[in-house]
Assembly symmetry: C2
Homo-oligomer: 155 residues x 2
DNA sequence: CCAGAAAAAGACCAAATTGGTCTTTTTAAG
DNA sequence: CTTAAAAAGACCAATTTGGTCTTTTTCTGG
């Protein structure tokens, strides 16, 4: 099964959570509890987000995290790549491409490049601001039993 | 780093190799040698391709594999999914979606569905016949030092 | 019909990756 | 200066992945 890593999945969720209250500074404990992500794991992810410039951290008492740039400037690709590294479907697309000992007998690299770009575009076409559009902003303050439309499509 | 599994990568290469000589039946040993993929691993992949209907196997002496359907009917998604299972970026997109204990507090599922479809389209937009178009058909019969165009783009 | 060659099937092992924990250090507020 | 919080990074465990090996089945050619 082709899937994202759990960490990438978590990261998007945490970012959504933060983007829903862009003005407030949230501590990792609060975010972890709200998203039900184990605290140390959430911390690690938040650290990666800061390193990527997607969040800014505020140290010391009452510290926490807030968006580093606007939610409409952050794409899903940005978040995923901050956690899992670049989208690079095959080994021969990276800088270590020469490690591929089949490179001289493989004519598919230019096709792989096209496919890779297409996948990157697909992931990059959704912005964080779009991810949260349909999310009621009272999430976490109380349970909402309002399943997304998608459940009707896939069942 | 977001990448395909090695098996999926191998699978595409094996399929290309077979599609280049669509009329002939090739044994797994020959294919493994040509692609420099370890024989037992190649066998396993070829078996998966047969199970998916992309290849047909011919048992017995002088047996081997040949395309099950036309190379222009096989997309990269078909090959990848035969090896790695369905493209399903997040856990909440499958039939075990209800296992997600955040489902009622997560409004992003419909967005994930969109992203997943976009990625599937990206992978599905390339056919096996296109993958081999630019490949000189004397591959494997001798070393070709004709690097694909792509090397100029990414370096 | 028999012997041999090849694929099929599946149990099994090892290494790499991933997810997660814990500890120590740094920073800032009060 | 004390305390609370983030940062950093060493470390561990579990899953997944890649790969091997063995046994069974099936077909061809003699």
């Amino acid at each position: 099964m082709i899937k994202l890593s759990n960490l990438a999945d978590y990261a998007v969720e945490l970012m959504c959570c933060i983007a829903l209250k862009p003005e407030s500074i949230r501590g990792s404990a609060s975010l972890a509890e709200q998203t039900k992500i184990p605290l140390p794991t959430a911390s690690k992810i938040l650290g990666l987000m800061v390193k990527a410039g997607l969040l800014v951290s505020h140290r010391g008492l009452n510290g926490g995290f807030s968006l580093g740039i606007g939610a409409d400037k952050i794409s899903i690709t940005d978040i995923i790549e901050a956690v899992d590294g670049p989208v690079q479907l095959t080994n021969c697309l990276g800088e270590d491409a020469d490690d591929c000992d089949r490179i001289s007998s493989c004519g598919t690299r230019s096709q792989w490049y096209r496919i890779n770009e297409a996948v990157k575009d697909a992931l990059g076409s959704v912005l964080l601001s779009q991810m949260i559009e349909s999310v009621p902003d009272f999430i976490g303050d109380g349970m909402v039993d309002d399943l997304p439309l998608i459940s009707k499509l896939i069942n």
